[in-house]
């Protein structure tokens, strides 16, 4: 016996009766967009106002003396030099330690490690490292570098701590950059007689360079801006000297800002704002460079998503 299926074609509603419904939906959509855009403008606006507020508060204090003097109990003499130099020392040292470790780790994970569970576990844990709050790295630094390795509150301890903090950023962006290098590059390289190491260093890494550099710049911007881990390892103090060795006590821009912002006097709050301008200038420079390199590379590779 054949079962017959009767397909019932529903009656098409008359188009005219649908118009009000459609009009309502369109109005809703327009309303939603209006609210959303207003909301976005408000948020951008607030952020802009806050940034401008800081700029206005700080600009009067941003003098050449400010940039070249040590901090002082007198606001008119106070300056940001040890903090600025300390910050630069910090990112140079942090970069020197985290870039090789990060890039080589990523190279190992992507090019050499067998595709097994251990590798996935390693990748997972590296990426989990970025979920640990910054202050925990500070406690880690206090426990391992300051106490256990007896480095005291030196720039070395500080950069070691920050290196661990920013390492996941470098590893993950390098891994992703390496993944994007087309297989054909590798195969061509090997076909021309390169050893694996040569293939990696002369073909894959240069091709992945924009992604890698972009990640490095982001990592350095992060290292520059974080104050919590450094406060925890004991960098909050009056330091009037630029560091001359890696074992010296130090201060950085973020901590100087924290210290000045804790003072109730309006002058010191203005100094803090000026220091924020300096900090943001460097951080924005690094971040914008990172973003520009990344988008240019994507465009060269052939289009954004």
């Amino acid at each position: 016996m054949e079962t017959q299926r009767i397909i019932r074609i529903p009656e098409l509603p008359d188009l005219e009766s649908l118009r009000p419904l459609v009009a309502r939906k369109r109005a809703l959509e327009r309303a939603f967009l209006a609210i959303a855009i207003v909301g976005a403008v408000i948020i951008f606006g607030i952020l802009l106002i806050l940034l401008l507020g800081v700029a206005l508060r700080g600009l009067p204090y941003l003098t050449p003396t400010f940039l070249t003097s040590p901090p002082s109990r007198f606001p008119e003499k106070a300056g940001v030099l040890p903090a600025l130099v300390g910050s630069l020392w910090l990112i140079v040292l942090t970069g020197a330690m985290s870039i090789p470790v990060g890039v080589l780790s990523a190279v190992y994970l992507e090019e050499y490690a067998p595709r097994n569970r251990i590798r996935r576990w390693l990748l997972l844990n590296i990426s989990n490292m970025s979920g640990i709050p910054a202050i925990m790295y500070g406690v880690l630094g206090l426990v391992i570098f300051v106490k256990l390795m007896a480095l005291g509150n030196s720039i070395l301890a500080g950069s070691l701590t920050m290196s661990l903090l920013v390492l996941p950023i470098i590893v993950i962006s390098t891994v992703e950059a390496i993944r994007l290098v087309p297989r054909s590059y590798r195969e061509a390289s090997l076909a021309l007689g390169a050893t694996k190491w040569q293939m990696v260093t002369r073909t894959v890494l240069p091709a992945a360079m924009p992604g890698i550099v972009s990640g490095i710049l982001l990592a350095l911007a992060r290292a520059l801006g974080e104050a919590a881990p450094l406060v925890t390892i004991g960098a909050l103090a009056y330091v009037a000297h630029v560091p001359t060795s890696v074992f010296d006590p130090f201060t950085v821009l973020s901590i100087q800002i924290f210290g000045w912002a804790s003072r109730p006097s309006s002058d010191f709050l203005g100094l803090a704002a000026a220091a924020i301008i300096v900090l943001l200038a460097i951080v924005f420079l690094l971040t914008i460079a990172s973003v520009v390199i990344r988008t240019r590379a994507i465009r060269m590779r052939g289009g954004i998503r």
């Binding site: 459609v22 939906k25 809703l28 959509e29 967009l33 609210i35 959303a36 855009i37 909301g39 976005a40 948020i43 952020l47 806050l50 507020g53 800081v54 508060r57 470790v101 780790s105 190992y108 844990n125 590296i126 990426s127 490292m129 970025s130 979920g131 640990i132 709050p133 910054a134 202050i135 925990m136 500070g138 880690l140 426990v143 391992i144 661990l164 390492l167 390289s189 007689g193 050893t195 694996k196 190491w197 992060r222 520059l224 801006g225 919590a228 406060v231 004991g234 909050l236 924290f258 912002a261 709050l269 704002a273 900090l279 951080v283 971040t287 973003v291 520009v292 988008t295 954004i304 998503r305």
Partner: protein
């Protein structure tokens, strides 16, 4: 000079092999340090719990390990963390999600390609800058609106934290919404749905796990935030739902204790690690959960 050479010196070959064999160490080094740190954290927290009963830790409504007579109830610190984070999420989730929707579903490609990099730059603003905002701009403003507000309060810190997290929520949510296959979206549109309907009835449910993941990661970030709360939320551990009052968060306590130095071996000393453990579990747990939820959908 080319790579196409017929003979390579044994020295070079040996050197390359050496480097290659050492590569795994580079990955293991940081993980080893973290492992050592976690071991230390757990050991010291364990010492703490040898001296303080778990019951007191969880049920006692007061926290002052260093004032006589000491009290070791973690509830006030957790309450402080949750209050400030809740306020932050109340700000960041709606605004961030709406921004993500507009960005991924409505904005023309050109606008998107300008806004997304700007979001990345905004996400890079250090948190002490936000702390400064809270202290110098937001609190005085709030004082005009709520005359009874305390000078150090949870609301100011929470609002500013929320603003800080918006770019994070937006970019993560936008990514998961943009990865919904266009075919599905177009099918909905073909069936007569407006873009708004498609977004809410199709795209968001499809990308839900990614969106929830972004909320969880943002929460983890808020829970772990230190500078904003240290500068603006205060240092009074108390259990309260009133955002106009000052509170102390887990992170702010860690800063307070590590600034001074308590005697080795005392309960006060170990309290740092007990609080650190709680913070680690909360913040890391949330991030982990977020990542897990995101992956869960993709395997479907």
């Amino acid at each position: 000079m080319g790579v196409t050479q017929t003979r390579r010196s044994p020295v070079t070959i040996a050197a390359e092999r050496l480097i290659e064999s050492l590569l795994p160490l580079f990955v293991l080094l940081p993980l080893l340090l973290i492992a050592i740190f976690l071991a230390f954290l757990f050991t010291n927290a364990f010492h703490f719990f040898q001296q303080v009963s778990l019951r007191e830790f969880l049920l006692e409504p007061n926290w002052h390990p260093l004032i006589q007579p000491p009290r070791y109830g973690i509830a006030p610190l957790v309450a402080g963390t949750l209050l400030t984070s809740a306020i932050a999420l109340l700000v960041a989730v709606p605004l961030g999600l709406i921004a993500a929707i507009v960005l991924s579903e409505f904005a023309p490609l050109r606008v998107r390609n300008v806004i997304k990099p700007i979001l990345d730059v905004l996400a890079g603003i250090p948190s002490i800058v936000y702390g400064y905002f809270a202290l110098v701009f937001v609190t005085p403003l709030l004082q005009k609106v709520f005359p009874t507000i305390e000078i150090f309060n949870a609301l100011s810190a929470g609002i500013v934290m929320g603003i800080m997290i918006i770019p994070l929520v937006t970019s993560l949510s936008e990514e998961s919404m943009a990865s919904v296959p266009t075919l599905v979206k177009e099918a909905a549109l073909a069936l007569g749905a407006t873009r708004l309907e498609t977004t809410f009835k199709v795209t968001i449910p499809y990308a839900l796990s990614g969106i929830i993941a972004s909320f969880l990661i943002a929460t983890g970030r808020a829970v772990g935030e230190t500078m904003i709360v240290t500068m603006a939320a205060g240092a009074t551990p108390r259990i309260t739902l009133n955002p106009l009052e000052g509170v102390q968060t887990l992170t702010a306590y860690i800063v307070q204790v590590s600034l001074g130095e308590t005697a080795l071996g005392t309960t006060g000393y170990y309290s740092l690690y007990a609080v650190g453990l709680v913070l680690f579990v909360l913040s890391f747990g949330l991030s982990l959960l977020g990542r897990w939820v995101a992956r869960w959908k993709r395997s479907e």
